[in-house]
């Protein structure tokens, strides 16, 4: 039985670890923002360190199960432990875990402690059952007022976010169902939700943040590759949660300007 345990535990361990080397498409999705390289690197570092701990612990477990199985000749070693060993592995794991965490602090700081730079493109993202809406301030650079009383989700567009059309600043606001942003420019996301909690998740941008009713949460990311990136809702928001997805289109600055101008023109 000890031998079977050894074989099975080792097999499970090696198959699990092997997947790491042979299945690149089961890895984090392709990252196309400035944050991606750092996050992916730290993920890989954690994966390798924890992988070593995993393999070592399972290999030893399997080995001991087989080596110390009861045999006619075997005799158990009478000991109540060893304080030096306890101290050693306490310090070792503390250094490993806390050290790993400390190494991630600058990454977290640049994502969350630091605000977006001046000159970032502001996009207001509003989640509601079961749709994302994106609002651009337009040429005046100012978002018009919104009022929850004016929200009409069935009408879509401006009415869906409750835009107050009597506010002069709202005249040039553009509301869309697809998010367009220019490449290589920081995007400041202003996250809102109207009904329940949603979560704005763009795997390709390594971006995730809950949208909470009553709060306007400011976050930022910088796309560095053009292309289409899927947006998914990552917080259970009701029966349509699974289909609350959208598309982020990262385009060149010229294309973006053209697109925004066209939306403005449609509005007039």
């Amino acid at each position: 039985m000890g031998l079977v345990l050894l074989v099975v535990i080792w097999l499970i361990t090696f198959v699990s670890a092997f997947l790491f080397f042979v299945k690149p498409n089961w890895w984090l999705p392709h990252g196309a923002s400035t944050a991606a390289a750092g996050i992916d690197h730290h993920f890989t570092l954690s994966f390798i360190l924890m992988g070593i701990v995993f393999v070592a612990a399972q290999v030893v477990l399997g080995l001991f199960a087989w080596k110390y199985r009861e045999q006619a000749s075997s005799k158990a070693h009478y000991t109540h432990g060893n304080n030096k060993l306890e101290f050693a592995w306490t310090v070792l794991t503390a250094v490993l875990f806390i050290g790993l965490n400390w190494a991630s602090k600058p990454l977290w700081a640049s994502e969350r402690f630091d605000a977006a730079h001046a000159g970032a493109l502001q996009v207001e993202v509003t989640g509601m059952q079961f749709q994302w809406y994106f609002r651009y301030a337009g040429p005046d650079g100012k978002f018009g007022a919104t009022k929850l009383e004016l929200v009409d989700p069935s009408a879509g567009g401006e009415s869906a976010v409750g835009l107050d059309t009597t506010d002069p600043a709202s005249k040039d606001d553009v509301v869309t169902g697809t998010m367009y942003v220019p490449v290589n420019r920081e995007v400041e996301v202003i996250l809102k939700a109207h009904d329940v909690i949603h979560s704005f998740f763009v795997p390709g941008m390594r971006f995730k943040q809950d949208a909470v009713p009553g709060l306007a949460i400011h976050m930022h990311f910088t796309p560095i590759e053009t292309g289409d990136y899927e947006i998914a809702c990552a917080e259970l928001c009701g029966m349509g949660h699974y289909k609350m997805h959208g598309m982020l289109k990262v385009v060149s600055q010229e294309e973006f300007d053209k697109w925004l101008a066209a939306r403005e023109a449609e509005k007039q």
Partner: protein, 582 residues
């Protein structure tokens, strides 16, 4: 049988009841109440497992029409996952290890005749039972069971109009949780008092089996955590039915402005996870205690680092109350707070690692007997490691950006809090069955059960990590809408196939359990040659546990293979070996 010396009469004995109702239904006997909790959990686990089977089937055949149930709609899927989580966390992982085995064996292992408050004990079981009935009733009311997940985040959980199942079903869900909290609070008081006041002569705290330490610390966690959840639940009930706005700001649902304003959705998350994270340890600590016990018994060696094990469990208990914010890294909570929670969370990995080292240290140089309980204890260590190493990923907020709410999280907590704890429950069942029912469980069936469960669990949850790393999200009733998730469907199919095999294996256990009650081999009073007090008394134990006498304890619980001793185990009640006590 080495029963050792007994002295004096029990101060706490109450007469054995006669009629069926007082003996088996409204019983004051901790052993009967323990069995009642156990069978409640057994019922619950099969219900919860059936729900997970339906979910797994729906995930790969979304349009399949099932007999009796019909086609599973997206909202039904969400009800299934809500009820699966609630049933498993509360009525299985909290109920079986603590309410079940803790009730049955804590008094016996410390040499007491019963729990400190037998009436309170009976009451806590029946309140828990009522909570289960109320929860299951949610399936049958108009609108069905709630779809807000076991975490019940408002505003979704607070607004009747936010979805089907958010009406009466959600009210029943909250009431069930509140009742469960009441039962758990009463039970926690009882466990704490019993441990502190009812120990036999010589049973100092540092001579208690690690199982007792685990139940004791779990009870303290329960006392501090369930009170908070109870309050949170009452506030949610008020928001839902009395027009208050604790959790709900001004919101528009279905185009209508709801009659709330000024509340904070994050308040619920703080209160819920203040309970929710200690709850993880409430589920796993008893399994840790038990596993320590079994690794020592079946390696025929003293536990490696008894004191380190006790201190590790105490630090897990204390740190467990300082890490709840790691569930909220993406919630809108301050990122500085998030980092502080992150440091504490990484710190809690340290005592968990100490425990793993000590289990390996106990196996090292041992004489291992691969009995069914030992197989599950070794399986527990393996799963605890595998589920544990994904913890440091999720504990780092920066890695939570890609991983939060993905299947990586599902794989992590199912391995460590779910299956590892359940392996603890299985190990406890195989270990104590002979004491509880006077017969041995069938070993061949137990081995089949172990291998299917062990390999099956890995087959289900290892690939699930990769599925989550590829950004596949939890709580999606279909993965067909989002392109990158659609591409990973083969992985989902493999997981479902593995789940079906693993679930089938559990019926071997169920059959063995009932078959062995009637046809199992007769058990002796101490079939495992173990040293703790439950093995000094008759099988099954008499009503007052020690037949009118109270045991006297001379040393710690893990004296195996003591050099010079006649047997390779020295009972705690054996005075001859006092010189080896520590």
């Amino acid at each position: 049988m080495a029963t050792g010396e007994f002295a004096g009469h029990l101060p706490h004995a109450h007469a054995a009841p006669q009629g069926f109702i007082r003996k088996w239904v409204f019983s004051l006997d901790h052993k009967v109440i323990g069995l009642q909790y156990y069978f409640l959990a057994l019922t619950a686990v099969f219900v919860g497992m059936l729900l997970s089977l339906l979910m797994r089937i729906h995930l790969i055949w979304p349009n399949l029409s099932l007999p009796l149930i019909g086609e599973i709609k997206p909202e039904t899927y969400l009800s299934l996952l809500t009820m699966h989580g609630t049933i498993m966390v509360f009525f299985v992982l909290t109920t079986a290890p603590q309410g079940g085995f803790g009730n049955y064996f804590l008094p016996i292992q410390i040499g007491a005749a019963d729990m400190a408050f037998p009436v309170l004990n009976m009451l806590s079981f029946w309140v828990t039972f009522l909570a289960f009935v109320v929860l299951v009733a949610a399936f049958f009311v108009t609108g069905g069971a709630p779809l807000h997940g076991w975490t019940g985040y408002p505003p979704l959980s607070a607004l009747q109009s936010a979805g089907t199942g958010q009406g009466l079903g959600a009210d029943l869900w909250v009431i069930s949780i509140a009742l469960f909290c009441l039962g758990a609070l009463m039970s926690a008081l009882n466990f704490i008092t019993t441990t502190l006041d009812m120990r036999a002569k010589g049973m100092s705290l540092m001579r208690m089996p690690l199982t007792c330490w685990a139940w004791f610390i779990t009870a303290i966690l329960g006392l501090l955590a369930f009170g908070v959840l109870l309050s949170a639940g009452i506030l949610l009930l008020l928001d839902r039915n009395a027009g208050t706005s604790f959790y709900v700001p001004l919101v528009v649902v279905n185009g209508q402005v709801a009659a709330h304003k000024g509340g904070s959705p994050l308040l619920w998350q703080h209160l819920f996870w203040f309970f929710g994270h200690p709850e993880v340890y409430i589920a796993i600590l008893p399994a840790m205690g038990l596993c320590s016990q079994l690794v020592s018994v079946f390696s025929r060696k003293p536990i490696f680092g008894y004191k380190a094990m006790v201190y590790a469990m105490l630090s897990i208990g204390i740190l467990g109350f300082m890490v709840w914010g790691h569930h909220m890294f993406m919630s809108g909570m301050s990122p500085y707070t998030a980092f502080a929670f992150s440091v504490m969370t990484m710190a809690i990995g340290v005592p968990s690692a100490i425990k793993t080292f000590n289990w390996l240290g106990t196996l090292w140089g041992g004489k291992i007997r691969f009995t069914p309980p030992m197989l599950f204890a070794i399986g527990f260590v393996s799963l605890f490691v595998s589920g544990g190493i994904s913890g440091p990923f999720l504990a780092q907020p920066v890695l939570d950006i890609p991983l939060h709410e993905t299947y990586f999280v599902i794989a992590h907590f199912h391995l460590i809090m779910g299956v590892a704890s359940i392996f603890g429950i299985f190990a406890a069942t195989y270990y104590w069955f002979p004491k509880m029912f006077g017969r041995m469980m069938n070993e061949r069936m137990a081995q089949i059960h172990f291998w299917v469960s062990f390999v099956g669990t890995y087959a289900v949850f290892m690939p699930m990590h990769y599925y989550g790393m590829a950004a596949a999200l939890r709580r999606y009733s279909q993965s067909t809408e989002v392109a990158y998730m659609r591409d990973l469907l083969p992985l989902q199919q493999f997981i479902t196939a593995a789940a079906i095999v693993t679930i089938a294996g559990q019926f071997v256990f169920l059959f063995n359990l009932f078959w062995s009650m009637k046809y199992g081999k007769q058990a002796s009073d101490n079939p495992w040659e173990a040293t703790t007090l439950e093995w000094t008394t008759a099988t099954p134990p008499p009503h007052d546990n020690f037949a009118g006498r109270t045991p006297v304890v001379y040393h710690g619980p893990y004296e195996y293979s003591v050099p010079g001793a006649p047997n390779d185990f020295v009972m705690q009640t054996d005075p001859a070996m006092e010189k080896v006590s520590h």
